[in-house]
Amino acid sequence: MKKLFLILLSIAMLTTLIVVPAEEVIKIGGIGVLTGPYATYGVAVKNGADLFFEELNNAGGIDGKKVEIIWVDSQGDPAIGQQAYYRLVENDEVVAILGAVLTGVTNAVADAAAEDGIPMVSPSATAYEVTTGRPNVFRTCFIDPFQSVMIARYMKSKNYKNVAALYDTGDDYSTGLYETFVNECKELGLNIVATEAAAFADVDFKAQLTNIKNANPEALFLPYYGAPAAHIVKQADEIGLDIPFIGADGISSITDSITDFSLLTNVIYSDHFNNDAAGEVAVKFLKGYEEKYGEVPTVSFSATAYDTALVLTEAIKKAGTEDYAAIVDAIKNMEVEGVTGIITFDDHNDPIKSAFFTTFDADGNKVFLERVDP
């Protein structure tokens, strides 16, 4: 009886062994912050990428194989992000990584990915060093130094002489932007009359803003994400600081965190994409997004995530194999038209693209100001 059972068990095990490879699925690992205060970005990325893969699978997938993206929540924590990476690579055997979303997490994940050589493309990690010395790590968004340079030039073009800066010392994204901004201001001859910093997760900025107001700047550089920026803009209004607040892409989600949209008319930022400045692929993307989710994308990382999915798919198609090195090579030499424009990669694995300066009207709608080319 026991023997019979053992034989049956072995047969059962053998059949599972045979069944698994019969499913023709290409797996891609998605890592993003899907919960917590920065979930807006992760969900935007997930929506954009999911939309692409749904369209792809409906059209037959890659050479008849369906593509499955397995999402793991990083919770915005670099350590959890890294664990997610190992789980995806070792247990799920994914062929590529899409993500991560926040710079800090992406750095941690990219560290591990660089050792394995797995193709990894982030739709939103804008800090310079993410792709440095990691030939298999790419991104489809522009980088922080580039944004800071563009913002400083924008300020210069508006004839500002004295500007101030407020940044978050506990956040790679914020400090990275701040450091390049300072350098570019020196080069352009802009005076930074007040520099204030806040610790991560602070909600009270009035002490810093009062110091800034006292220094009388003409504009404030604000390298923040949307949720804290909403606090800053409101408290600036309370203490009577009425100057333009110029931030980078992270501030774009501020509309989700504020009720009084009239405060947003002072906010200007550099964006990866603008719905009003869209090409042919973008029109298709916007239409598909609205059909699937019932709203237009508010965070431009949906667009860069869609492009990231496109880049990975094209690379896997061109490589014709699931070999890491072949896919990385295909990404390196790719030229493809995505939602945010034509994507090619430079020596540092960064895309070469334009910045779209954007502000808001009193109802919280994005208003396109001007496009600045590199």
Binding site: T35, A197, A207, A230, I239, G240
Partner: protein
């Protein structure tokens, strides 16, 4: 000079909020010697009640805030009945751990129901600030300061003069003796929780008017700061909570303004350590030797 005064006003604003929340901590601790770690999360419950009342039920902001305060009080009573009452005769550490458990429970329930994405607090408050030359005081600062002072005085009067207040003090001194004297200790403790959580509800509204973002973990940090304020002023002492709150807020604001923004938390905790080294019962606390 105007910078100094403006920074002082910033500090008083933050301090008033800490003070209001600290009052609730102090009340509960004063009566049953329990640090109610779920107190900060009641703040979050109040904030989400307002979000639902306005967003889903379409009530007016004032009605929503009043309802949220009532809901907070009911939550306080419920938590006391379900989580703390069965443990009243167990060691203190059991209640303390239960308090942390309740806090986790509330946060995770909110995560489940409302998702972790922060929601904007749907009460707009646009009243022009008061301008006195270079000095500017926002309406919310005046409101918060006024409300916290009035509540502190009302509470102090209530505890010292009313019958219910006297029974609270009796329970706080010796629960068994109070029971023998015919005081309904259960009702008194329930009342304490209801009042403490009502204060958290009011604090929630004022906190959210100042920092209008509602998320499941929003209560943790103000909860911890208010707890420090309560300990600093002398936990269990009502004016102490007030004093601790203001000291904490002003210390934070001045550190940010004149020393360094990153150091503000370090300074706050440093003050706490120094005060506790020299006066373990807090600034206004009376040192009563533990009865054996």
């Amino acid at each position: 000079m105007s910078l100094f005064i403006n920074q002082l006003i910033n500090g008083i604003h933050v301090g008033s909020i800490y003070a209001l929340i600290a009052l609730g901590y102090t009340m509960v601790y004063g009566i049953i010697r329990l640090i109610n770690f779920a107190h900060g999360d009641i703040l979050m419950v109040g904030a989400y009640t307002v979000v639902v009342a306005i967003g889903t039920l379409g009530l007016s902001p004032l009605a929503a805030i009043l309802i949220s305060i009532v809901i907070c009080a009911l939550f306080g009573i419920l938590i006391e009945k379900v989580a703390y009452k069965p443990l009243r005769n167990s060691p203190k550490i059991s209640s303390l751990i239960t308090a942390i458990g309740v806090s986790m429970l509330l946060q995770n329930l909110a995560l489940l129901i409302f998702t972790p994405t922060p929601k904007p607090y749907p009460v707009p408050l646009s009243v022009a600030p008061l301008n006195l030359g270079d000095i500017q005081i926002s309406f919310i600062t005046i409101l918060t300061f006024g409300v916290s002072i009035v509540i502190m005085m009302a509470l102090q009067t209530f505890v010292t003069t009313s019958k219910a207040g006297k029974s609270m003090r009796a329970v706080s001194e010796d629960m068994k003796a109070a029971l023998l004297m015919g005081i309904n200790t259960d009702n008194t403790i329930t009342l304490t929780f209801a009042i403490g959580c009502t204060l958290a509800g009011i604090g929630s509204a004022l906190f959210c008017l100042a920092y209008p973002s509602v998320s499941p973990t929003m209560g943790s940090l103000p909860g911890v700061k208010a707890f420090i304020a309560a300990v600093l002023g002398g936990i269990g002492v009502i004016p102490g909570a007030m004093l601790g709150g203001f000291l904490l807020g002003i210390a934070e604001s001045f550190t940010k303004a004149y020393i360094s923004s990153q150091l503000s938390d370090a300074v706050v905790y440093g003050i706490l350590i120094i005060v506790l080294l020299f006066k373990p019962s807090g600034l206004l606390g009376k040192s009563v030797r533990e009865k054996v």
